[in-house]
Symmetry: none
Subunit: 117 residues, 2 copies
DNA sequence: AATAGTGTATTAATATACTAATACACTAAT
DNA sequence: ATTAGTGTATTAGTATATTAATACACTATT
């Protein structure tokens, strides 16, 4: 798993656990880079992604701040929209909630197989 | 999107639409390769993946056959497409499988609440 | 056994994704 | 204006994923 992606995970997790709270400023890219022994640009890349997702706010020349925490965590519409459509259509075709959960699990396992190759 | 992955999708779709039926033999890798103007190995790679997923059956020296249609094999694309997109995007944003399952469950319960109103 | 049809293991080439180095731009406080 | 702190655009290097070329193995038929 790429470094910048691991970093994204860790920051999101920290926010979920309230180790980082709304409005708080994150350590600078250089401080983090030094602490984690990785390149500043790799950290910047993670920051950029988190800004796109609305998790962090970029203040030019100042630093990165933790954004307002959303109701459902930080679910982007690129996730939420297809999820809603999936459930809606599944219900239209009279699939039960259990069947829906089973379907999701099945597709998750398929994707795992594909990744492990 | 990689060629072999597009091919996997197309074959699955063809089976869903009954353009390919249970037990039917697929065109050989060379025939397909020639028709689609791509390398035979790329097609073989798609076939291998589909065999792992249980969609096709490999007969050595003979060819690839369409497998028995699965329990969940008749899911309409109006369900499958958003599901795939949902999982794909969720993974892009680094949600774990557990988190994905939790999300689905959450949305299922929300929809139930709305219905009972 | 020879042949002509299957798919594929192995390897090499290519494309893509990721990381790192450098120099730069922005902001706040001197 | 200078300084010291932010983040980042650009570019180059590296690693990984994908595609392609070749030679091979299996099966059925003759």
């Amino acid at each position: 798993m790429p470094i910048f992606r691991q970093l994204i995970d860790q920051i999101k997790q920290a926010i979920r656990m309230n180790l980082l709270v709304n409005g708080e400023q994150l350590p600078s890219v250089r401080v983090l880079a030094s602490a984690l022994q990785i390149n500043p640009m790799t950290i910047s890349k993670a920051f950029s992604q988190l800004e796109i997702e609305g998790v962090l706010i970029r203040k030019r020349g100042v630093g990165m701040l933790v954004a307002e925490v959303q109701e459902n965590g930080h679910i982007s519409s690129s996730i939420e929209t297809p999820l809603q459509k999936f459930i809606e259509n599944a219900h239209k075709e009279n699939l039960s909630n259990d069947q829906i959960m089973a379907l999701v699990q099945q597709y998750l396992s398929i994707q795992s197989q594909e990744k492990s190759k």
